[in-house]
Symmetry: C2
Subunit: 384 residues, 2 copies
């Protein structure tokens, strides 16, 4: 799966943005160099931690192995955005400060995923067992005592906590001038608080949503999406990279104008993939979001557009752990048939257009603009 991301600038995307800008550097090459540095620094950091934990006990190093399995994979969208945010604000190519920032952001993402998979009861992540499931399987394989599920959850809660501490440790070690450090810290703090708040609103909507007005379901889903994912996945990393390089208020505003609609489009794409995605490509079982009862924008649109009978069926079956393939097919049929899917695609297109318009006005050089355009293409057109 990871190979498919090694060449993020396919010909189609290059043709779209390549001719109209003056570019003295190929951003694809620079971005691959950054990605390599990021992976090397991530590995070096985790190796150091593994060594320190070995001093405590060989058993404890298992926590780092679980983190490493997750943190060393992934698309690195957030880190790459922080990189181009840094470069757009005049930061030096491949500087250690922004490599460290990328490591911190990707470790935060890994921590969020570890806990998210417990909360969503997801058994797989990126085609492999999720962290709690990994510990659970290990328990079963070794024939240990008491409850394997409980052990798996407990170990994964602690892995996620450790990973969260690791992201802080890396972030706190970034050496930039005081003003830049304060500005970046404000974004980093806000980012974590907002993600956790957004995740909580998501969990709350699963249980409280059915009793709240269906008419505002899209509005509530948009609010969850904005805090849990959109700002966090695009706007904050971009602005954080910029802040580390001393971005001024105008550039930061321009990053937001591009990043927020892009993040919203990115997440609505994610919602669509969570229901209609191919398990072979997404690495997640078909209809996982439906089984978990996620009340996404896509579901909100369907609740508003479906017939009363379809709506009742949706409300009743969403979140049933025993949802089988036939149920998933029926729910997909409703969501597609009522026009919710095509409305979601329209929203993705409109938000993407907003993002690209903001990008055209962004006061950055051609290399950075080209790189951001390619990342935007990937974020909204992806299939995984």
């Amino acid at each position: 799966m990871q190979q498919s991301h090694r060449h993020p600038f396919p010909a189609a995307s290059g043709a779209q943005g390549g001719e109209s800008v003056t570019s003295d550097r190929d951003p694809a090459v620079e971005q691959e160099d950054y990605r390599d540095l990021l992976s090397a620094q991530m590995q070096a950091f985790l190796e150091l931690q593994r060594g320190q934990l070995h001093e405590v006990s060989g058993d404890a190093a298992e926590l780092v192995d679980a983190i490493a399995q997750l943190a060393e994979g992934g698309k690195r969208l957030r880190a790459l955005l922080s990189y181009w945010g840094w470069r757009g604000a005049g930061g030096a190519p491949l500087a250690d400060e922004v490599v460290q920032a990328g490591v911190a952001i990707e470790l935060f993402q890994a921590a969020a995923l570890i806990h998210d998979d417990i909360i969503d009861r997801s058994a797989t992540r990126r085609g492999k067992p999720s962290v709690h499931r990994r510990f659970e399987l290990n328990h079963a394989a070794r024939g240990w005592a008491l409850d394997p599920v409980h052990y798996g959850q407990a170990a994964a809660i602690l892995s996620g906590d450790m990973c969260l501490s690791f992201c802080e440790e890396v972030f706190a070690g970034i050496a930039v001038p005081n003003a830049a450090s304060s500005a970046a810290r404000r974004i980093f703090n806000r980012m974590r608080t907002e993600v956790m708040a957004g995740q909580y609103l998501d969990v709350l909507e699963e249980v409280a949503g059915p009793g709240r007005p269906a008419k505002q379901a899209v509005e509530r889903a948009m609010q969850i999406l904005r805090y849990k994912s959109a700002k966090y996945s695009t706007e904050h990393p971009l602005c954080l990279g910029g802040a580390l390089a001393g971005a001024d208020a105008g550039l930061t505003a321009s990053y937001s104008a591009f990043g927020l609609p892009l993040g919203e489009a990115f997440q609505i794409r994610d919602d669509v993939l969570g229901v209609f995605g191919d398990p072979a490509t997404t690495g997640k079982p078909a209809g996982d979001d439906l089984r978990e009862g996620k009340r996404t924008v896509l579901v909100g649109l369907a609740l508003n557009r479906a017939t009363p009978a379809e709506r009742d069926f949706l409300q009743e079956r969403l979140g049933s752990p025993d949802l089988d393939d036939d149920d998933v097919m029926s729910l997909r049929g409703i969501i597609d048939g009522c026009g919710a899917l095509s409305e979601a695609e329209t929203m993705i297109a409109r938000l993407s257009a907003d993002a690209y318009r903001a990008l055209d006005l962004m006061p950055v050089d051609g290399t950075v603009a080209k790189a951001l355009r390619a990342l935007a293409d990937r974020a909204v057109q992806r299939s995984a």
Copy 2:
């Protein structure tokens, strides 16, 4: 419960250390002033966060309410040790830097407790519902959809994550010179990693311990205790406060020589209270540790001293969620009857004596020595 800690310098303790030192200041008064500042700063910080979360959504502020309920209580042992560590290294009385350090440490403790209570399935904490239970009860009271237990756990995982981020946010804001900041950061990082590793070893011992040699049960339990609790509860806060004030290597070593045995004695006292403590005083149900299957030093001693029949009974019943009051009485009878309880008390006495000896040699002024002696007395002689 909190009132009982408002006067931490009882007459007996004063008589023990009061006459032999020259003290120009009453540490009890200074400590109360510090505690008040700490509480005020903690409240102010959480109020600020609550306001920011209200901007996201009124619902999200519930996460801060849950954190506040926990973080605004407690004995504050760790913060108080960091305070006297600071003062012993020449830090100014009641300085903002050490108030913030105390807030960070107490927020870390709250985060650890929130997740620990999920892991240990503890329904109560300090006599009130634990955080996951609080959310679960709220779900039931409002008649929400799906599973209240799952909702409670999910919301508590996120509350704990937020609290963990808060502790970092506060710690990162402490303004001390660079060298002091780096030294304190090293301790803060190590402290968090070790606590999480120790908690994992604790969880692992519950499931893997029954299949491992009983002869080494005490040794394994001591290792868990050292990392999960002893270093974290006493040694690290003391050294961290010292580091912030620029403590030299000699003073730091002296803090460790006092703090580590004190922390070990503190935790063995905790183990004894977890089995024999009075629920009215501890705020925890009787025999909670036995029901969870905690393989503490006390249990390790019993496994080595009990008859084969008693050992089999211990191995079989430890960790049974259905343990009733009669079982708890039987298990207590074995642990006491085989001499494990009295051996644990001997260990507490020996470790306390080591700590007091180190305190006598510590190069700090009389006020600080007196304060540390009183905290040590409380840590090892407590009943809650």
